[in-house]
């Protein structure tokens, strides 16, 4: 027996001078295995063609659909409506990112700025001859790098972060994790001094207050707590 659920979404189009922020309720019949992706797609196709949200892979891989779902930052595509016992779901756009419209936010520009700021790439003077055998890497080291490379830049760590909420220049767990990732990559020749230049300030590693919402809401279960601590210990010694 399916039940009726109520989805409440914050609607607002900042680029439209007539738009005022309002909460809108949508009632719909729940289906077995219904995710918020399915629910919102249905709402968009039937009740409100004008509701904007960001879904791409709808499988928790691409990180596009972060939202505040009943107060918590989550990936909407991986959230089942059946998880909410009272059938009431309130959706808000992710804070800390510029709002595009309704539930759609501009994580792209934010993440691009972050990537450029922490030089999120391999830095090396070594020239690779790609016709020759690849550089050998210890398998465990490759696994360790992969572990941190799993970040999908969904922005939930930033949206959950009290520092980021207050200080818009904070690099976020996503940025600190990225630096940790390159610092353990054997292809990267950067030293701790070099990394200090990227994150050695209050907008970087020293802005983190260790409230660990990043760790608690990361949909990929990245070891953010220990990696941020690791970077902090390193940076303090520089």
């Amino acid at each position: 027996m399916s039940r009726e659920i109520t989805i409440t979404a914050l609607k607002y189009n900042p680029s439209d001078c007539n738009s005022k922020p309002t909460f809108v309720d949508y009632k719909l019949q729940e289906e077995p295995g219904m995710t918020l992706y399915i629910a919102l797609t249905k709402i968009k196709a039937t009740v409100d063609h004008d509701l904007s949200s960001d879904f791409v892979c709808r499988a928790g891989i691409c990180g596009a659909c972060g939202m505040i779902i009943n107060g918590k930052p989550k990936l909407a595509c991986k959230t089942l409506t059946s998880d909410f016992k009272d059938g009431k779901i309130e959706l808000l756009p992710l804070p800390t990112f510029p709002l595009i419209k309704d539930l759609s936010v501009d994580t792209g520009s934010w993440m691009k700025n972050m990537s450029i700021r922490v030089n999120s790439w391999i830095v090396t003077n070594e020239k690779t001859d790609i016709s020759k055998l690849e550089k050998r890497i210890e398998p465990e080291v490759a696994d360790e790098v992969f572990e941190l490379d799993r970040c999908i830049e969904c922005g939930l760590c930033v949206a959950g972060c009290s520092t980021a909420i207050m200080r818009k220049d904070f690099v976020g767990a996503v940025g600190l994790n990225r630096v940790a990732r390159f610092s353990i990559d054997p292809h990267d020749e950067r030293t701790d001094e070099d990394f200090y230049e990227l994150i050695g300030d209050d907008e970087g590693i020293f802005g983190c207050m260790s409230l660990l919402a990043c760790e608690d809401y990361c949909p990929k279960n990245l070891p953010l707590q220990s990696k941020i601590a690791y970077m902090r210990r390193k940076m303090i010694k520089v």
Partner: protein
């Protein structure tokens, strides 16, 4: 004005084209001062709570702090110096921690809404720290100033008189609550911040640390409350003899 400062404030880099190391030092010092204060508070509590064992014991511990084994009858100088050092660390810690506070209306609104919506444990704990930290600016300063100006007035009667007859007890109740929350949360935060006691499973260790934090807060609050009650009781009994100092002999005479 130093040119180095001008260069850094305008360009964000030192004259060697490097980032300043000051933020690293400040971050470290915030933690270090916090750790010192927290450890101090634990020992402070253990010391004042000796009254629960006996007045004599508390008295002899006090005298030991006054280095009575060196100076005949003890000296207030070492106590004064200790308090002064703690006061300086306290002010410095407050100054460093203030950097993290929400300051503008927008920041306060955003932080409060965020925390209320999310209902996330560690975030709420931090807000408790902000509030208790703010209270401690005043409560701690008052207490420390009084002790600094009366380093000799520590003892079973002197302290009790202060608590009861000088009506310091309302301040001490608030101070106790603020300190024990602030300190225990602070110690927990220090552990996760620097990755202490991480072990092989940081998630599990964090749970344990959090449990330890609650236990510490609880034990300290109970101990503190009991101690305060003890001083209140002595203070009430001793009201008529306000200002009289405790001696071991008095105790012996009273026993008869």
């Amino acid at each position: 004005m130093s040119q180095e400062n001008i260069i850094e404030s305008l360009t964000g880099k030192t004259s060697k084209k490097k980032k300043s190391r000051i933020p690293a030092k400040l971050d470290f010092l915030q933690s270090a001062t916090g750790l010192i204060l927290a450890i101090f508070m634990i020992f402070h509590m253990l010391f004042v709570s000796t009254i629960l064992i006996s007045k004599d014991f508390m008295y002899s511990v006090t005298k030991a702090f006054e280095l009575s084994f060196i100076f005949e009858g003890g000296s207030t100088v070492p106590v004064f110096i200790s308090i002064l050092i703690i006061f300086i660390i306290f002010i410095f810690h407050a100054f460093l921690a203030m950097r993290k506070f929400p300051i503008s209306y927008k920041e306060v609104l955003r932080l409060k809404t965020h925390s209320d919506l999310m209902n996330h444990g560690d975030t709420k704990l931090w807000i408790i720290q902000v509030v208790t930290g703010f209270l401690l600016f005043f409560l701690g300063s008052v207490h420390l100033y009084i002790m600094l100006t009366n380093p000799g007035n520590i003892g079973p009667f002197a302290s009790s008189d202060r608590v009861y007859s000088d009506t310091m007890w309302p301040l001490y109740i608030l101070l106790l609550i603020a300190v024990e929350f602030h300190g225990a949360i602070g110690l927990y935060r220090l552990s996760v911040k620097w990755g202490w006691f991480e072990g092989s499973d940081p998630k599990k260790s964090r749970k344990r640390l959090k449990k330890a934090k609650w236990i510490l807060s609880g034990v300290m609050l109970v101990l503190g409350a009991a101690t305060l009650v003890a001083y209140m009781k002595i203070g009430a009994e001793h009201q008529s003899n306000y200002g009289e100092r405790y001696t071991i002999q008095t105790e012996v005479q009273n026993a008869y």
